[in-house]
């Protein structure tokens, strides 16, 4: 058992660390998405100009938000599944079924990573985004260049790497005889209500 427990503990720590960072970035991304869209409205009505980058920028952030925080959702059991069969089966069979399902998930994720990687390094990734500019050191100091689409696509690739890591953790948890998180855990997390009135 120690053979599984130790890597499980280490991986669990690593995942907690990575996913905390991911969650912080995703939170900021959401805040900036709101800001971009509000800015777009203000510019349109107050200054009669429609900035080109707000919409694509918000989509850029949304992709990164998804890629960075969805793995946390997976870890907390937020990916809804029907657990009727698993709870009905005896323990050993249930664990075997869990492992088969996790293996299927793993296969999907690895595929997603391989395809995603070839996409960002390939043809499609080299196209530039329409309106997102990044400062880049050029011949005469910093120049604003258009970001390639791969910067956007990378969000899902990073997401699949994080999810692979979570998936390995989940497999180890089953092997160590621990239960998997159920969807109620992520729901309950949301239901932590504050005190009712602040007035």
């Amino acid at each position: 058992m120690g053979l599984i427990r130790l890597p499980l503990r280490l991986l669990s720590k690593l995942n907690s660390f990575l996913l905390t960072i991911g969650s912080v970035i995703a939170t900021l991304a959401l805040a900036f998405m709101v800001a971009f869209v509000i800015y777009q409205i203000v510019m349109r009505y107050a200054f009669n100009t429609a900035p080109a980058w707000t919409e694509e920028g918000a989509r850029f952030l949304m992709l990164w938000m998804t890629g960075l925080v969805a793995p946390l959702g997976y870890r907390k059991g937020g990916f809804v599944a029907i657990d009727l069969v698993q709870t009905a089966l005896p323990r050993l069979l249930s664990a075997i079924l869990s492992l088969i399902l996790l293996a299927l998930a793993m296969l999907t994720l690895i595929y997603a990573f391989i395809i995603g990687w070839s996409e960002i390094t390939g043809f499609a990734g080299r196209f530039a985004t329409a309106s997102i500019y990044f400062p880049w050191p050029g011949a005469e100091g910093l120049e604003w260049i258009r970001a390639p689409r791969s910067y956007m696509m990378a969000s899902l690739v990073v997401g699949s790497v994080l999810m692979i890591s979570v998936n390995i953790e989940l497999i180890l948890r089953v092997l160590a005889g621990e239960g998997l998180p159920s969807e109620t855990s992520v729901l309950l997390d949301k239901s932590k209500q504050p005190v009712m009135e602040g007035e």
Binding site: S23, A26, T27, A29, L30, A31, M33, V34, V37, I38, I41, A58, R59, F60, M62, L63, M65, T66, V69, A70, G73, Y74, G78, F79, V80, A81, I82, D83, L84, V85, Q86, L97, L101, L104, A105, L107, T108, Y111, A112, I115, G116, S118, E119, M152, M153, S155, L156, E183, T184, L187, L188, D189, K190, S191, Q193, P194, M196, E197, G198, E199
Partner: protein
């Protein structure tokens, strides 16, 4: 080729998360049949999430709901519902449903409604002599109104999947069916009060509720503006329903002519803002009279409760009027709703602190990421479905069953109800929407009406076992077992199914509001 579907269903039933099932099934299908490569799937997931500005509305609506939830707004809404219906027998049950209706106007998610209202109302109901399972059941059953009344993440997704229906029309069409479901739940509660062993009616007492002066003033102003807009809507609705035409409009204009002439500038035209004000004057006047009328019939305590509800209840108005008048896109309206919710809970109600913000934003980011990933996977699945020519095969099959659209609609109701038991709403819309919508639109069913049939049906599925997120949430907040709630919720599900049939076979329920407003505006 169609084995993809049984495989998909089997994978879900044995417990594979829907996200993976949506990718594994078509992935294997594409590789085996050589109909395409898995790269197509990846591109669809990516484009599905990142290629649309409309989808950004989903995280925004979730965020606005989360802020409202946090910002002490739930209590105000519940108070307001208490003041309206709290005094009848089974008062708190009616309060629960009424609050769900109001809450639906602020958040687009049933699970969030169950969590917000359940945490507050289930313990309160237990204290007042309701059984816990009844309290949990009515909370769950009524929270499905959340995604039907706008704003609604589900309707946004539907408009994203099915081309040719606008979010604006869908939002308008959802209002009446949502209220209908609420009313039918209240009717069941009232009729079977004895059977549910509901406690007798009692006077509603509010513990000391206060209203700071700045909010008082703001609430008074906003309430008057709302009333004027409402009266304007009624007046213009009447104008069209009564079939009045251009001549009558000229007559009405004549009444205002002297006033307009009085303020006219050198060019003989009144400045537009002042002209608008003059036209608005009668509505404000009638509104003021109505306020005076109700004011005398209401205790001081109740007036405060009403005023406290004014600011929170502006959220649905901000969203709807923004979209209705074409001032902003749905996504922008959602962002405005977030900004408004932040503004009032931070600065006016002061029920939220800056330090609460990270938590609120990160929870909203987490739940939207899960939904968005599901949307991406569903887009990929939809592509594979199209490659498998499933829509044609399904259409042939459906048309083979019957040629009578009424019978088919009934069958579809049952199908969607069953699908709703197992699938979450978003994937179900992606999988079945592109297959079913063209068939029924071909039969002459209005696209907007069909959207509502589908969404209401699938949403009610959120409260049905074995996979009802709302049930899980109700169990989580009440501490009652899912199985017990599943039994207690049956009478409500039955009446919701009847309401679905009524919504299906009486198109006017969904369509009269959008039709009327599209004529007026």
């Amino acid at each position: 080729m169609l084995w993809m579907f049984p495989f998909f269903l089997l994978a879900i039933l044995v417990g594979l998360p829907i996200f993976f099932a949506l990718l594994v099934a078509p992935g294997i299908f594409l590789v085996i049949t050589d109909a395409g490569s898995a790269t197509t799937l990846w591109r669809n997931v990516y484009n599905g999430i990142g290629d649309s500005f409309i989808l950004i509305a989903i995280p925004f609506f979730l965020l606005a709901g989360e802020i409202m939830n946090r910002g002490g707004i739930t209590l105000r809404i519940v108070d307001f519902a208490q003041a309206l219906v709290g005094h009848v027998r089974g008062g708190l049950a009616h309060v629960n449903v009424t609050s769900s209706i109001f809450f639906a106007g602020m958040s687009g998610s049933a699970v969030a409604d169950t969590s917000a209202l359940g945490t507050m109302l289930i313990p309160e109901m237990e204290r007042n002599g309701y059984s816990r399972k009844f309290a949990a059941a009515i909370t769950g059953a009524s929270s499905v109104i959340g995604p039907i009344i706008p704003p609604s993440g589900i309707l946004v997704i539907y408009a994203y999947v099915i081309e040719g229906v606008s979010i604006r029309d869908l939002f308008l069409a959802g209002i009446a069916p949502g209220i209908l479901i609420g009313l039918s739940l209240m009717a069941v509660t009232a009729i079977f009060a004895d059977k549910f062993k509901l406690p007798p009616a009692k006077r509603v007492e509010f513990e000391h509720r206060t209203l700071p002066i700045h909010e008082d003033i703001l609430a008074r102003i906003l309430a008057r503006i709302d009333m004027a807009i409402l009266l304007y809507m009624f007046a213009s609705g009447y104008f069209f329903v009564a079939g009045l035409g251009q001549e009558d409009a000229t007559q009405i204009n004549d009444i205002f002519a002297p006033l307009l002439a009085a303020v006219a500038g050198a060019d003989g035209e009144a400045p537009i803002a002042i002209a608008a004000l003059i036209y608005a004057l009668p509505f404000f006047a009638v509104g003021e009279l109505l306020f005076m009328f109700f004011r005398r019939r209401m205790s001081e305590e109740r007036r405060i409760i009403f005023k406290r509800a004014v600011l929170p209840l502006q959220t649905p108005l901000v969203i709807l009027s923004g979209i209705l008048f074409g001032v902003v896109t749905p996504t922008e309206a959602a962002a405005l709703a977030v900004a408004y919710a932040l503004f009032i809970s931070l600065f006016v109600l002061r029920s939220m602190k800056m330090s609460d913000l990270p938590g609120v934003f990160s929870r909203a980011a987490l739940s939207s990421a899960i939904v968005l990933l599901l949307v991406g996977a569903a887009v990929a699945f939809k592509t594979a479905v199209a490659i498998a020519q499933a829509p044609d095969i399904a259409a042939e099959f459906v048309l083979g069953l019957s040629q009578n659209p009424l019978i088919l609609l009934f069958l579809i109701n049952i199908l969607l109800f069953v699908v709703g038991m197992f699938l979450d709403v978003a994937p179900a819309i992606f999988i079945l929407g592109p297959i079913l919508a063209p068939i029924f639109i071909g039969f002459g069913v209005d696209p907007v009406h069909f959207a509502i049939i589908m969404c209401v049906n699938l949403t009610v599925g959120l409260a049905t076992p074995p996979m009802g997120l709302v049930l899980f949430m109700a169990a989580a907040v009440s501490g009652e077992r899912v199985e017990t709630i599943s039994k207690a919720i049956l009478p409500f599900l039955a009446v919701e199914f009847i309401a679905i049939l009524v919504i299906t076979f009486v198109p006017a329920i969904s369509l009269f509001i959008p039709n009327l407003i599209n004529q007026v505006l």
